[in-house]
């Protein structure tokens, strides 16, 4: 941090301002379309200098003590997009250009004349913690807390030195209070700053009484966040993507306070923001956003080279673990491993290539709950995002699986099937009994079927439906072959022992997580010679059995791909292909 006049973590806006002023000075004020790139500064600081871990994570826990206008990280799924917001990006205060980028309120009154003002736009994204996120993916937060305390004191010192023009006055006051919480200071500050009091006040109360706090409505486990995105192409951020946003936290309440009786608001139609009071939904002005891949979620990724040997070892141990959990059903464990590695890697019109849903049949209600429970537990430790749905008639008839647009609030109301890419979903059909489905139930059954067949979920926009691509691994438990959820692989489950609930060493778990995450994202190819072999095999098997169709071909090829990937290889070899055919033969035998 040497050489930086501002502490980027505690006072990011200072840096924003400084770079802006510099850029204005350099370009001879033409802040029209200017992007003066403070982002590069942050990028350099966080990634090149490796300071990312210093940035505290924003969640239901940390929100209690995080101070506004500091740099925070937020990991979440984009649940809804609230459109664009126009704001005064740059304006003239006297003869000096100021910027409002990365803030909600301007420090200085904005002149009325439009000549002294530039309007810019930013995107609003409503983000929620990823549904079904397992606890192991979350970084520990105590560390951050301590560090943050340190920062504050550091910052205070620094501030005394750099306090220029009183710009950062507010931040400092707030931060002071945040730490000391002394009532006397509070009073004093309030007297000093009556004009900007609302915001000030809010922060003070927050920091003073953390227990009854700012955020009574916040569920500790799921803190939503309104992320404001600057200068980023639209295609970068898609619905249901999981992102890490690094930006400036604001918790201002002024949005809530404004009950202005202007032309539009007395009409009813107000933006969705009104339903997202800032004291429940913090705002994050995003400086840097980064899409999280599965491997990014690993807490401490073991530095493992994908040496074939190592991968093979991990594969074997994971397979052993799965076999144990599945009550010594080796075939099921093999297929399960492939299933866990599957992902949609291409879409050709209606075909989602690469999905491999698994249907374990021959399960009774009891065994399903026994093995299901074990599997669920095992997956929770292995996969980042897991879910399970017990399928009953009442459930189908009542639950809203698909997200729905609520035009009253102009928000997308989430549904069970709004899942992040790569989520794992267990559906237990053994609980389903005969009964009547109402229209909701029929619709839900259709949605589930579409999800299994096409990996698509229809979002209900009232006047029309919109299909959204999904990538969800589906595991189905059922007594017979499930017809509601036509899975790719159907296998009668034959456990020979009650699954053991062995305690798994943390290190092994970590290795497995790493394995699943990294192997899954391997690229894949196939040489032309092998292609010939495949074609011949397919043709031969079809000549032998007319009932084999394109569906089976698709499944085999997917399995072949996953099989070679599971060995950490990127090219399909004959050996792996034969393993697939052998698995398939065993499976068919079992089906008879």
């Amino acid at each position: 941090m040497v050489g930086l006049p501002y502490d980027l973590v505690a006072n990011p806006l200072g840096a924003v301002r400084l770079t802006f002023e510099k850029a204005v000075a350099a370009s001879g004020f033409e802040p029209d379309s200017m992007d003066w790139a403070p982002v590069d500064l942050f990028r350099q600081f966080l990634f090149d200098q490796g300071n990312l871990s210093q940035v505290p994570i924003l969640n239901g826990e940390t929100i209690r003590w995080l101070r506004p206008k500091t740099l925070v990280r937020f990991r979440g799924m984009i649940q809804d997009m609230l459109g664009n917001e126009f704001y005064v990006g740059a304006y003239k205060d006297g003869s000096v250009w100021r910027t409002n980028k990365f803030t909600d309120v301007s420090q200085f009154p904005i002149a009325d004349s439009s000549a002294d003002m530039r309007v810019w736009e930013r995107r609003l994204l409503y983000c929620v913690p990823v549904p079904g996120q397992n606890s192991w993916t979350e970084p520990a937060s105590e560390l951050v807390l301590n560090r943050c305390m340190d920062f504050t004191s550091q910052q205070r010192e620094k501030r005394r030195r750099v306090d220029d023009e009183g710009i950062d006055h507010m931040d400092m006051l707030v931060s002071d209070d945040g730490v000391q919480g002394s009532p006397s200071t509070k009073k004093m500050k309030e007297d000093e700053q009556p004009s900007v009091s609302s915001q000030n006040h809010e922060s003070i109360t927050e920091s003073n009484c953390p227990n009854m706090s700012i955020v009574p409505g916040i569920d500790k486990d799921s803190l939503p966040c309104l992320v404001k995105i600057y200068d980023s192409p639209e295609s970068d951020l898609k619905l249901n993507d999981v992102f890490e946003f690094i930006g400036v936290l604001t918790l201002d309440s002024e949005l809530q306070a404004d009950k202005d009786h202007d032309e539009l608001s007395n009409g009813f139609i107000e933006d969705a923001l009104e339903h997202l009071p800032p004291n429940k939904v913090p705002r994050l002005h995003c400086l840097i956003h980064k899409k999280l891949a599965a491997s990014d979620l690993l807490n401490c990724s073991p530095v493992m080279e994908s040496k074939p040997n190592l991968v093979k070892e991990i594969r074997d141990s994971l397979l052993r673990h799965l076999t144990a959990v599945l009550g010594n059903d080796g075939l099921a464990a093999h297929l399960m491993l492939l299933h866990l590695l599957s992902r949609v890697h291409a879409r050709v019109d209606n075909v989602a290539v690469g999905k491999l849903s698994l249907n374990l049949t021959c399960l009774s209600k009891e065994s399903a709950s026994l093995f299901g429970g074990q599997l669920t537990h095992a997956f929770r430790n292995l996969l980042p995002f897991t879910h399970s749905i017990p399928l009953t008639v009442e459930y189908l008839n009542s639950v809203s699986l698909a997200p729905k647009k609520d035009y009253e609030t102009d928000r997308l109301i989430t549904g069970v099937l709004q899942l992040a890419e790569g989520s794992h979903l267990i559906i237990d059909e053994t609980k389903l009994e005969a009964g009547t489905l109402n229209s909701v139930g029929v619709e839900n059954a259709r949605l589930l079927k579409n999800l299994t067949e096409l990996q698509k979920v229809e979002y209900d926009f009232k006047y029309y439906k919109m299909e959204m691509a999904a990538d969800v691994q589906l595991l189905i438990f059922s007594e017979g072959k499930s017809n509601i959820l036509p899975a790719d692989i159907v296998i009668p489950y034959q456990p020979s022992s009650v699954g053991s609930s062995e305690v798994v060493a943390g290190q092994a778990l970590e290795a497995w997580r790493w394995y699943l995450a990294s192997v899954k994202s391997l690229p894949h190819s196939i040489d032309s010679e092998m292609q010939k072999v495949l074609e011949n095999d397919l043709v031969a098997s079809r000549q032998a059995d007319r009932s084999i169709g394109s569906h089976d071909f698709n499944r085999w090829l997917t399995m072949g791909r996953l099989m070679s990937a599971s060995f950490g290889e990127t090219c399909l070899s004959l050996e792996h292909w034969q393993m697939v055919m052998e698995l398939e033969r065993l499976r068919r035998e079992r089906l008879k």
Binding site: F86, N100, S114, E263, F268, Y464, G549, R561
Partner: protein, 845 residues
């Protein structure tokens, strides 16, 4: 007032000749407040503001320019040049250095008065008021549609908008619709200005309009508003950005919410509580009404005594409507954007939630105040569109109002949905020699094989020409197709694809749909108790394609409804006192599974799919999609799937048209191409048909096989017309006819081939029994008759059918004989009174 001004203000450069005369600082003067007042006046409907022709926007540059008559001889090129420069401006000079806030109205008179030579500029712009005034006047006065100008008496006719104004006066309307395309065609410069500075230009527009109205009918008191529509380019809601603020934009979208109607005060009347004196109407000013503090009556002058008299105030309707992007504009992985619309007066309640509309309006932004009391504004803006014009657009994917029907000849002046560039592109495409194959490839590219089926479907999409003879007989132009095939041969996928592509496509499954669901049904409106006719799938897909999946699973009843639809193209309803005939000019694309799970090649089509021959014959093309045990096909399937998994799927399909181009191509062809048969083609048709018929007559054979019926020749005409349409050709050529024959033959070979002989036999389709089958039955009958005559005595012991079968097999050397056939033959004999059949045995009588 920040929101009221354009973000990028304009300063004219020195490059244009008439500007060089004026001040280098910029000749743009007037106060911002004044500009705002003018704006609010435009919206107001106060008669007083308009009955006396109001002055043109008031200010004159005090730098009296010496160019004498800029307005009368505008130089469009330089104007346009300036318009283009508009966005790139520097902010300094725009600060108005002068606020010439003179009592504006003192400078009355017409803007185009030649004496008033000094140009007036709208503040912050380079718009010369006189210029614009004049341009608008000329436009309204002289604009004629190009078609009428070409005629001889064109000049004698009144201009389009003069006529329109008169009509508005006659009906006492309150708005004049102006087509922006007309403006552009007449004066591109004016158009540019109007889009760039809509507030200013529209204010002038209204003034000019009122002047003209005043001349036509001085007594006309209402204010007429100009409503602009049909801008040259419409913006996508997603692309609205800060630079669009204060510009005229045109958007498409769907209404999702409407507020209740808000009465907005325009003119207030106050009464003194002390003396009862009524004030003069107070007009709204900048969104506010100032209450008089003192009673204006000289005798009274009571303070704070004035009270608002509600029922003598004037209100206008206002409504806020939320518009959402249409689904097709949403990029992958995005949610739809919305925007608020502000509707006034006539536009209120013009659209309901769910309607798809196209609006033209001014994009505006408004600052958000921190609190009602605080002066500081927040840095946020709320944006909305001040609506000028709204048009409901139809809901179809493709332009559905095509003119396959001759009742509605295409009219020239209707809105043109294709811009010229696109049309050029399409025409270019149509000239490609392999366009037919290319289109075939582009149709459901992920379904490999089935090329001939795809070609048939392509013909269905393009369609033939409907014909109505003066005698009243009509011939449909729609092509009906039936796909029969084994499960898992991607029939449904084809159907889905066509459904996606076709105009007003309706997709239903035969299993779930009832007869009424397909045609129409009568319901009682729960509120009013009125009986309402609700259309079913077939009526809804009028002029489209109705895709019916699982056709075989449909109930007999429902299928019978199709008879009428497929030939007469109407649906007749006689229910609950309503007798109606609804148009259902729809092509039917149906697919069916064979009655067993797989197609049994030993049986005829009729036996394979339990469809009545009467219905079957109404399909132009019947394709059998069989899963043949053919190694070649299997290999292609394998290759296809392998490449699906291991190759970049994008690179695999190179020269296919994307969906949007395909749709554009289709709709253009359906709309604009109406091919007719050439003599050569007609000859070929006759020749081919005769030949087809002749093929049924084998020399020396007694059996008569019908290989073609008049229905086929109709189908052939439709197909060849569709094929010509694919090439964008107005003439059906010989090759089209030949291809049509080929298509028909391919389809017939699959479906109407008699498997016993390998020849095409239309009897299969029309009666369900092939000629050779009939002959076989007859020979069997006579064989049995012989056996009975030989072996059995009258009244003797009965003979079991199995014995008879053995005997028959011994006698006839080849040819399999089934017990079933024997049983049928015996029952025929029994009906002749020759034998008596009891269960499995028979007796000679």
């Amino acid at each position: 007032m920040a929101s009221d001004s354009s973000p990028a203000n304009f300063v004219n450069g020195a490059s244009s000749p008439d500007d060089s005369n004026s001040s280098p600082i910029g000749n743009t003067f007037s106060s911002p407040g004044d500009a705002a007042r003018r704006r609010s006046r435009r919206r107001s409907t106060t008669p007083s503001a308009y009955t006396t022709p109001p002055p043109p926007p008031p200010h004159q540059s005090r730098f009296a320019a010496s160019d004498a008559n800029p307005a009368l001889t505008p130089t469009p090129s330089s104007r346009r040049g300036r318009g283009r420069r508009a966005p790139s401006t520097t902010p300094i000079a725009t600060t108005p250095s002068s606020t010439d806030d003179a009592a504006a109205s003192s400078e009355g008179g017409d803007g185009y008065d030649a004496d008033d030579a000094r140009p007036t500029f709208v503040w912050g712009t380079n718009i010369s008021v006189e210029d614009v005034n004049e341009a608008i006047y000329r436009f309204l006065k002289h604009f004629r549609e190009s078609s009428s100008v070409s005629e001889d008496d064109g000049l004698l006719m009144e201009g389009k908008y003069e006529t329109a104004i008169k009509r508005v006066l006659e009906v006492e309307g309150d708005s004049l619709d102006v087509d922006a395309q007309d403006v552009f065609g007449y004066d591109p410069d004016l158009y540019t200005k109007m889009v760039r500075y809509p507030l200013e230009v529209l204010a002038i527009f209204d003034i000019v309009l009122m002047n003209m109205v005043g001349r036509i009918n001085p007594l006309f008191e209402r204010h007429i508003q100009t409503r602009i529509f049909n801008l040259k380019s419409s913006t996508s809601m997603r692309n609205l950005n800060p630079s669009d603020i204060e510009r005229m934009v045109s958007l498409k979208g769907m209404i999702i919410r409407c507020s209740s109607i808000i009465p907005e005060i325009r003119e207030a009347l106050f009464r003194c509580l002390v003396c009862g004196y009524y004030s003069d109407p107070v007009v709204i000013n900048r969104g506010q009404i100032t209450e008089p503090r003192v009673c204006l009556k000289e005798e009274c002058q009571a303070r704070n005594s004035m009270t608002l008299v509600h029922n003598r105030c004037r209100f206008t309707d206002k409504q806020i409507v939320r518009l959402q992007e249409t689904p097709d504009e949403i990029p992958e992985g995005g949610t739809p954007h919305t925007v608020s619309l502000l509707m006034h007066d006539k536009l209120v309640d013009a659209g309901k939630p769910g309607d798809r509309i196209e609006v033209t309006g001014i994009y505006r932004a408004m600052t958000v105040r921190v609190g009602p009391t605080q002066r500081t504004v927040k840095s946020l803006f709320k944006t909305y569109i001040d609506c000028l014009h709204m048009k409901k657009s139809d809901k179809s994917r493709m332009v559905a109002d095509d003119h396959m029907d001759i009742e509605n000849p295409p009219s020239r002046t209707e809105d043109i949905p294709f811009d010229e560039e696109k049309v050029e592109q399409l025409k270019e495409l149509s000239k490609l020699p392999d366009i037919y194959d290319r289109l075939t490839r582009s149709l459901a590219p992920n379904i490999w094989e089935l090329d001939d089926v795809k070609k048939g479907l392509l013909c269905q999409l393009f369609g033939g020409n409907a014909l109505k003879l003066p005698s009243g007989a009509s011939f449909r132009g729609d092509i009906n197709i039936l796909l029969v095939g084994d499960p898992g041969t991607s029939k449904s996928q084809l159907l889905q694809y066509i459904h996606k592509l076709s105009p007003r496509g309706i997709y239903t499954s035969g299993r779930g749909s009832s007869a009424v669901g397909l045609t129409a049904y009568v319901t009682k409106d729960p509120e009013t108790g009125e009986t309402v006719l609700e259309s079913g799938a077939l009526v809804l897909s009028d002029r489209g394609i109705c895709c019916i999946d699982e056709f075989d699973k449909m109930s007999e009843n429902a299928r019978s409804m199709l008879h009428e639809v497929m030939e007469q193209q109407t649906v007749s309803i006689a229910k609950a006192g309503i007798i109606a005939s609804l148009n259902a000019r729809t092509s039917v694309l149906a697919c069916a599974n064979p009655s067993g799970s797989r197609y049994n090649p030993r049986l005829s089509v009729i036996d394979n799919i339990h469809l009545p021959p009467t219905l079957l014959s109404r399909f132009d093309l019947i394709y059998l999609i069989l899963d043949k045990a053919d190694e070649q096909t299997d290999r292609r399937l394998a290759k296809h799937i392998v490449s699906l998994h291991f190759e970049n799927p994008e690179s695999a399909e190179q020269d296919v048209l994307d969906l949007s181009t395909l749709i554009a191509y289709l709709s253009y062809a359906r709309r604009h191409i109406h091919p007719e048969l050439s003599d050569e083609a007609a000859e070929e048709l006759t020749r081919g048909y005769v030949e087809m018929r002749r093929r049924g007559n084998f020399p020396g054979s007694s059996k008569k096989v019908i290989t073609a019926t008049p229905r086929q020749i109709e189908s052939l005409i439709r197909l060849s017309e569709a094929l010509a349409r694919i090439r964008f050709s107005e003439l059906v050529e010989k090759r089209d006819v030949m291809e049509a024959f080929r298509l028909l033959e391919v389809a017939m070979q699959q479906s109407a081939t008699d498997h016993a002989t390998g020849t095409i036999d239309m009897d299969l389709i029309t009666t369900g029994v092939s000629a050779s089958e009939r002959m076989r039955r007859e020979s069997l009958l006579s064989a049995i008759r012989n056996i009975v005559m030989e072996k059995m005595q009258l009244g003797g012991p009965s003979m079991r059918l199995l014995e008879l079968l053995d005997e028959l097999k011994r006698q006839s050397s080849g040819g399999e004989i089934h017990l079933n056939d024997v049983r049928n033959a015996v029952s025929t004999l029994a009906s002749e009174g020759f034998v008596a059949a009891h269960g499995d045995s028979m007796k000679r009588i």
